[in-house]
Symmetry: C2
Subunit: 573 residues, 2 copies
């Protein structure tokens, strides 16, 4: 095992250049807010337009930025120390938490004392923080008390991307020209996002702020249909294929291209240690599927899972700082037979683990029967639910069937319970759905889950293109985002075929940024069209560099630019 830690320490000192180099002519800026808030954004500078009458400058464009301190050349990154804990003072100031002396999970304690994994371990592990007895530290709880937290203030500034401040300069430059009215299917698009609007959406359960009190490093963000559509990137090593250092690099890489959250789906023996490295260095919320780790603890034998072991895993991960948990509590015993006649049965890994457990014991899913106890854990750390769709369709044929919708209705019932506890909740969705059934799926979710944010994988709109499932699913993702889905889980070109490498991650993320942005435009999110207009203007004026730099992937655009095309020059149209 000696190779691994060496690898970590080596990479820790120097993330590869490609994940840190700033985009051309972009700079990190910080917008100030109340109480010393500094909200990071990216400003893209543009060259002037040459007209017959001289030079007309083009104002810079400010864009939403997920990349954290990594894209800021002024910040010294030391992966071994972790990111600066931005939210630590906010959390402490609320006075409703206490610092524990050490991990309270059994596994966390065993692992902290384990010599064998010591070389893998992140060195600066903080003692976990937990709500004081009886306290509820969820953002939903604060919101319902009428409190606007610094997280909410931060998010309001972030979502606006300085639109109001820059409106005049944008208007003068034509960046707001013909912003088309959206069709938002009943969403509430605001002209400007206020902290009070953020709060009210969290109160109503229509948006969540995944922000574990043990992940103070994160830059707060929001997931809800009345905000910008977000995307998630999955990373995670498998026993054979990658080291911890590679996973940290992949996390940073994901945020560089626009991942709003990252799910760590690692398997294998060192999940606990990998997760710690990722969390301490992640500026975005981290999600996990705790049943994966629970299964590792029983050597892959689903029938040996117990509530106690699962519960311990939740606490272990909550105390590390995981921001949302995928929990497949809707896979009920009675739904399992409904999957027997499917073309592709149960394809969700979590779904099949729980189905196996239910059938082996002929008992109701223990995540369902212990759901209120899970809520107690969630609210003590502010972990958000991502209620898993263990029965999601794995093929076009199985879309929107009774098993899928049966589970969805149960997720709605569980949403009601979670909200009773003021626990933030989003709902996971499919999967594989043909175009004409996507809206039915979205509407069913909005109705039965009371507009709790929907978080879907794709959906893939056809099954016939292995090797291109980022595209089959990007089509579905754009549509469901438009219809009201709040977060889109990316799919890479390697889906169904193999494990994604860095190029696949980039391709998957850019595809999903496209889908999310197409949805923002379609819903009429205020100012969404600014970047399109600025880029189109640059394109029309043959300002090539500006066109590249305003794009989602300036590096690829530059690389594709071909010498056979016209060079920089003014078009006097």
């Amino acid at each position: 095992m000696n190779a691994v830690p060496q690898d970590i320490f080596h990479k820790a000192d120097e993330l590869s250049d490609e994940v840190r180099k700033p985009f051309p002519r972009s700079r990190k800026i910080h917008v100030e807010g109340p109480g010393g808030l500094r909200v990071p954004m990216r400003e893209i500078s543009l060259s002037a337009t040459k007209t017959a009458n001289g030079i007309e400058p083009n104002p810079p464009v400010t864009v939403y930025d997920t990349s954290g301190p990594y894209s800021d050349p002024d910040v010294k990154i030391d992966l071994r120390a972790g990111l600066s804990p931005l939210r630590e003072s906010w959390i402490a100031a609320r006075g409703d938490t206490e610092q524990l002396r050490g991990p309270s999970s059994i596994f966390g304690r065993i692992r902290a004392a384990d010599d064998k994994t010591a070389p893998l371990r992140f060195e600066h592990i903080r003692a976990p923080r937990k709500a004081k007895t009886g306290a509820n530290v969820s953002q939903m709880h604060y919101a319902r008390q009428g409190i606007i937290t610094p997280e909410m203030e931060f998010i309001a500034i972030r979502e606006n991307a300085r639109l109001d401040e820059l409106r005049e300069s944008y208007e003068a430059a034509g960046y707001l020209r013909r912003q088309h009215a959206g069709q938002n299917f009943g969403a509430f698009m605001q002209k400007q996002i206020t902290p009070e609007f953020v709060r009210s959406e969290v109160v109503r359960g229509r948006a969540i702020i995944p922000a574990n009190i043990n992940h103070p490093e994160l830059e707060p963000m929001i997931i809800g249909r009345n905000f910008r559509v977000k995307i998630n990137a999955n990373i995670g090593n498998s026993a054979v294929s990658s080291s911890i250092a590679e996973e940290v690099e992949k996390m940073v890489w994901s945020t560089r291209w626009g991942g709003d959250t990252v799910m760590d789906l690692s398997t294998g023996k060192n999940i606990h240690e990998t997760r710690e490295w990722i969390l301490r260095n992640s500026p975005v919320p981290i999600g996990t599927v705790p049943i994966y780790q629970a299964l590792e603890k029983v050597d892959g034998k689903a029938e040996e899972l117990t509530w106690e072991l699962y519960r311990d895993t939740l606490i272990e991960q909550a105390e590390q700082g995981v921001d949302y948990f995928t929990i497949h509590a809707g896979v009920l015993l009675r739904y399992i037979p409904w999957t027997a006649n499917r073309v592709t049965g149960i394809v969700s890994r979590g779904g099949s683990i729980l189905a196996k457990w239910c059938l082996a014991h002929h008992k109701e899913n223990f995540l369902y029967t212990h759901f209120e106890e899970i809520c107690e854990i969630m609210k003590a750390y502010d972990v958000s639910f991502s209620l898993g769709d263990g029965l999601r369709p794995g093929s076009i044929a199985d879309a929107n069937d009774e098993a899928q919708f049966g589970e969805l209705h149960t997720l709605g019932e569980l949403t009601g319970i979670a909200w009773k506890h003021d626990v933030q909740t989003m709902i996971e969705g499919p999967g594989h759905v043909p175009l004409q059934l996507i809206k039915d799926n979205m509407d069913e979710q909005l109705k039965h889950c009371f507009e709790a944010p929907f978080y879907t994988l794709g959906p893939l709109t056809t099954d016939i293109a292995p090797g291109y499932d980022h595209i089959t699913s990007g089509i579905g993702a754009a549509n469901i985002g438009w219809y009201g889905c709040a977060m889109l889980c990316y799919v890479t070109p390697k889906e169904h075929l193999g494990l994604p490498d860095k190029d696949d991650v980039r391709e998957g993320i850019i595809t999903y940024k496209i889908a999310a942005h197409a949805a923002d435009l379609a819903k009429g999110f205020p100012g969404a069209q600014v970047r399109d207009n600025a880029l189109s203007k640059a394109r029309f004026e043959f300002r090539w560099e500006d066109q590249f730099n305003l794009g989602l992937d300036p590096e690829k655009a530059q690389e594709f630019h071909d010498e056979t095309l016209p060079q920089e020059g003014a078009k006097l149209a």
Copy 2:
């Protein structure tokens, strides 16, 4: 110039292996029809399912096949001889055409006698065929006479892809399980396509069969909203970047991946010769934009274009066998000022050429004023109109504006005139349109152009992703196909940046096959889900090779398959 012809003759003997090798476990089959018709399709063989009770064979799947004789190892290809003229006897049997002694266009005659270009010339040039005086040889004309042509018989068989014949075997294998009802927005999806239905759709102008009497090599296909959604791939050399041989190879490459038609957008001095090579070797309809060549003839000076020169170009190309012409007859003088306030003005090349001409002469577009004369040429060779959208939006900002819709209404007026002449007509569409405006665009076209087939470029649903515009536009293409668009013009990753190479062409085509197929599923085209179900079944049973082979790109799927994933084996679910 010696290098070029050598290049041609070398490549003519041996197209590169990669464009001809059959897909794994696929074979070319021919379905017989009346009068000795042999309609080519591709049959994909599958391995058996291993169950606890033994082996269950999986019947092969038959798919629509655009690749012509190139994917048939039994056919000897000689690019210098051209493909066998499949339709020659059908055309001759109609007795309404005559073989001319030579080209009747001035340019065609000059070129035929030109020593300098002799080495570039395709050697077996047939004398052109033309309608006898007063005759109309369009498929629309025959249809309106109540005649079902062999082309229509061929198409009916082709569209069905043996669904009825194989229904029982498909049903037994589960390939027809849960075929979802479509939402087709007023299209008329048939359970089975009959020759009479083909005829009636052509009568009504709701579908076209692009099939010039001088392109007897083509395998007939149909473009209309009540048939499979088709895709077009653009090829074309520019003076500096490729030879004739490369263009022929690119045409074959396009049909291999699924291009239903190919547009030759070549520029430079040898357009005429390049086109002849492409046509003689193309199994799919070829479209062109004649104004490009006309402009070459006046050294790029738009204001020097004349009706006479353009007319000669139409005849030149019609006698070579071009199946459809993009004609920008809707760019009216009065619409041009409406583009002045756009973010991206006029981005269509044809549109700007004609706008320049109109403004220079302050006269109405000569394509509009001579439209009926153009119809006379079209019906003498059965060239179909593809009425160009010279004022299409080049940015999200400019979508669905008065210039675009003004032109669209004029295209509707011209459709009525073309139909009066029994000339087949489709309508080109944009461009750049955000998701929420695509349906309006489609509905506007259906209404004002009386359901004449719509043929759109994309549309791109956002402008912010140069380098990924196959994806920004694939999203729009899937949606507009679902709403009723009949053919989707592909966009490659190099759009806006450079000229596509072979990899880009493949990526663009596969993206558009995905969009077209997603649309077929959404509209509920009969049997469209067979391939999805067969692939999903293979996936669920870990029949990896079958999964790859049923996909749109078996080669890439195989290549992406990763050794870290489970190997072939039975899953007993």
